[in-house]
């Protein structure tokens, strides 16, 4: 291409520079049709996306669970709160999913910052390095000797107005009827837009890291079988969302956004979230807010509770007793 060819290819009759009208009547009509059509299609796309209400989850009777986990454990007065919450869980699971409303209550007055919930969660979900669902934030106030520590476990808030959901470009994350925000690992493209949208930093990306990568280099067969990439515990799949997620060969959830899901896979079989059962101070409570007799309903109605960053308007489902 040379400017000489530009000189030769000039066609003054077709350019506006010739002194003719900017656009002929026919071109004006075509321009209006193209611009109007494009804007109409774009508008329809946005409106359709914003008004689509159905979630991909099944609802109704097929979601009712007749769980027998506590059939042989009679209820007692002043029984451990874990048993009380598990009874609440069994009761809630006997309802269709759309009639449950899962919430978590964390009593910060009891939390001692032991991080047991963080690690139990890592073990439960086979989380790789750099992925964490429930860190415990430690804040220090005052000056020596008048120092105070405050511990704030931070699971996913399962917001009722989740900012992470609408930013997903492929509908890979959504709000379930029971209030939990779920991710479809098989759809997620790993763009990480949802990570930036969460004001709580509750989503982390699985970059494919491994706790044992390189550990077995130079080791003998015995050592490698215990500590190496083939260590038996590494072969255990994660069971998030009720599916076995084998690790390796760039399989999902590697490359995906990940976050706390209130241990949905455990709820389905009558088990409380791992963070609740592992809390040494019984500071984490879980249950159905739609049940007026549940422990969590009792706690949020009888105590001074707060949510994190309420000014963000996300309407979290995790309450903190302060």
């Amino acid at each position: 291409v040379t400017e000489r060819s530009e000189v030769e290819s000039r066609d003054p009759a077709e350019s506006a520079g010739s002194g003719g009208p900017l656009l002929t009547r026919r071109e004006v009509i075509r321009s209006a049709a193209l611009v109007g059509g494009t804007m109409a299609v774009a508008g329809a796309g946005v409106i359709t996306a914003r008004t689509a209400g159905a979630t991909p989850d099944p609802t109704g009777e097929q979601t009712v669970r007749d769980l027998t986990v506590l059939d042989n454990v009679p209820a007692e007065v002043d029984e451990d709160v874990l048993l009380r919450m598990q009874r609440d869980l069994v009761k809630a699971m006997a309802k269709p999913v759309e009639e449950r409303s899962w919430i978590m209550v964390i009593d910060t007055r009891k939390c001692v910052g032991c991080h047991a919930c963080t690690l139990a969660c890592v073990a439960e979900n086979n989380l790789p390095p750099g992925v964490v669902y429930r860190p415990v934030v430690t804040e220090e106030f005052g000056e020596y000797p008048n120092v105070q520590l405050r511990f704030t476990p931070r699971p996913c808030m399962q917001c009722d107005e989740p900012p992470c959901v609408p930013v997903c470009p492929v509908n890979a994350t959504w709000k379930r009827p029971d209030g939990i925000v779920a991710i479809d690992y098989d759809k997620c493209i790993g763009c990480r837009y949802c990570l930036t949208a969460c004001p709580y930093g509750a989503r982390t990306s699985d970059f494919g890291e491994s706790y044992v990568a390189g550990v077995a280099e130079g080791a003998d067969a015995t050592e490698e079988s215990v500590f190496g990439a083939q260590a038996p515990w590494m072969e255990q799949p994660s069971h998030e969302y009720g599916k076995a997620w084998e690790r390796g060969d760039h399989a999902s959830p590697e490359g995906n956004a990940r976050k706390c899901h209130f241990c949905l896979h455990r709820l389905e079989v009558g088990q409380l979230p791992k963070c609740a059962t592992s809390c040494i101070g019984r500071a984490t409570y879980f249950g159905d807010a739609n049940d007026p007799d549940s422990l969590v309903t009792e706690l949020i109605t009888q105590n001074n509770v707060q949510t994190l960053l309420p000014h963000k308007g996300t309407k979290p489902r995790v309450y903190y007793i302060v």
Binding site: G45, V136, K187, C188, I189
Partner: protein, 402 residues
């Protein structure tokens, strides 16, 4: 509506000019180095995945996303000037060849941009889902569709530019104007809608990114037009001179406007009596202060502005190249500081890992892949111009035979 172009002086009225870019052969060296190093980066990315990358979960987007938004901005800006110039009959823009050069610049900037963002995806093999199952509540899906529409539109403009006019070329250019406004503005909206990041959550951001896109796009078009003009000898240079002057003006005004808008944005944060602005502190005095003061202000503002004020087209070309490269810093200075300040105090210390850190340093792999994006863009410009020349030659020969 009727617009009459100003009286056009003859080509001979323009002063004869020496080569616009006597250093242009050095671009082969830049291309070769970028290609070789870039291929190493792409190979690393494909073999090692995201492990050698510096971004994490608290700063999820890094250099590649800045390159992505810079690329689509250049595309919009270059096409904007060419399309407006063609429609209004600006001197130097009235030929179809000038449109073709702009469409080549669009392809050469959007393709590397999409490559950059594709390599940034955790599951890039699923990128097609944005096309077949998009959610238009997400600005990302909206953006992707608009970019692809822009590419398709440019392909249409390219094709029509070789054919007898049947009244579709200008309507397509009018439609292009809509997309040209949408593409960079949406880039700003992409960040602006994120309420979780106060630094991004500003209505001015789409306008800032629009202005930076027009500036960088005009700058890159100035560079490419000058390189093309040089291949046409004195006649080519004289013919292109009016176009370069217009592009010079656009870049000059763009630089000035961008810095005025940026000052407006910064001043709100800096003079706010209620709260500090940690993101601005990072930009102005943080570890990467030099990206703002040296790359952005000095090399992207002061130096090119001064060069453009000179009467030498050679200086304008250098300024175009500078702005085309350094304006990526305007993207970086939006992107990184916005993520580097968390809403929850103490989160970084709650679970310690390099991926859970608010400090981001681009790694060698990220720089190498960015170099590959540059090489890809240069290759597309070269191949596009050669292809364009071949088609013109063939059409010319066919015309002679008839």
């Amino acid at each position: 509506v009727s617009v009459v172009a100003p009286e056009r002086p003859s080509v001979a009225d323009e002063p004869p000019v020496a080569s616009y870019a006597p250093w242009r052969r050095a671009l082969w060296g830049v291309f070769a180095v970028s290609l070789v190093l870039g291929l190493v980066g792409v190979w690393l990315r494909l073999v090692e995945g995201h492990l050698p990358a510096g971004y994490g979960s608290y700063v999820p987007w890094g250099l590649w996303i800045a390159v992505y938004f810079h690329g689509v901005g250049i595309a919009a800006g270059a096409l904007a000037v060419a399309a407006i110039g063609y429609l209004l009959g600006w001197r130097g823009f009235v030929t179809r060849q000038s449109l073709r050069i702009a469409t080549i610049v669009v392809a050469a900037s959007v393709a590397p941009a999409l490559l950059s963002v594709g390599l940034d995806l955790g599951r890039m093999e699923r990128a097609w889902r944005i096309i077949v199952a998009p959610s238009f509540t997400s600005m990302m899906a909206f953006n992707t569709w608009t970019y692809l529409a822009l590419l398709a539109l440019c392909a249409g403009i390219w094709w029509l530019s070789y054919r007898p006019d049947r009244g579709w070329l200008k309507p397509l250019l009018v439609l292009a104007m809509l997309l040209i406004v949408m593409v960079p503005s949406q880039s700003g909206a992409f960040f602006g809608v994120v309420d979780a990041k106060p630094y991004w959550h500003s209505a001015l951001l789409p306008i800032l990114l629009f202005v930076s896109a027009m500036t960088a796009g005009a700058a890159v078009l100035l560079l490419v037009r000058a390189l093309v003009a040089d291949t046409g000898g004195d006649a080519g240079r004289r013919e292109s001179y009016p176009a370069l002057r217009i592009l010079r003006t656009v870049v000059l005004v763009g630089i000035a406007l961008y810095f005025v808008l940026e000052f407006a944005e910064f001043s709100i944060g800096l003079w706010n009596p209620q709260a500090g602005a940690p993101e601005l502190d990072l930009v102005l005095t943080g570890p990467y202060w030099w990206v703002f003061w040296i790359v952005h202000v000095l090399l992207g503002g002061v130096v090119p502005f001064a060069l453009l004020l000179l009467r030498s087209p050679r200086a304008w070309v250098v300024a175009g190249g500078l702005v085309g490269v350094t304006f990526v810093s305007s993207r970086l200075n939006v992107l990184i500081p916005g993520q580097a300040v968390g809403e929850l105090r103490g989160l970084q210390e709650a679970f310690v890992h390099p991926r859970l850190d608010y400090v981001y340093n681009a790694t060698a792999m990220e720089y190498l892949v960015a170099l590959f994006a540059v090489a890809l863009g240069m290759a597309i410009v070269y191949i596009g111009l050669r292809l364009s020349s071949m088609i013109e030659q063939r059409l010319s020969n066919e015309g002679d035979e008839r």
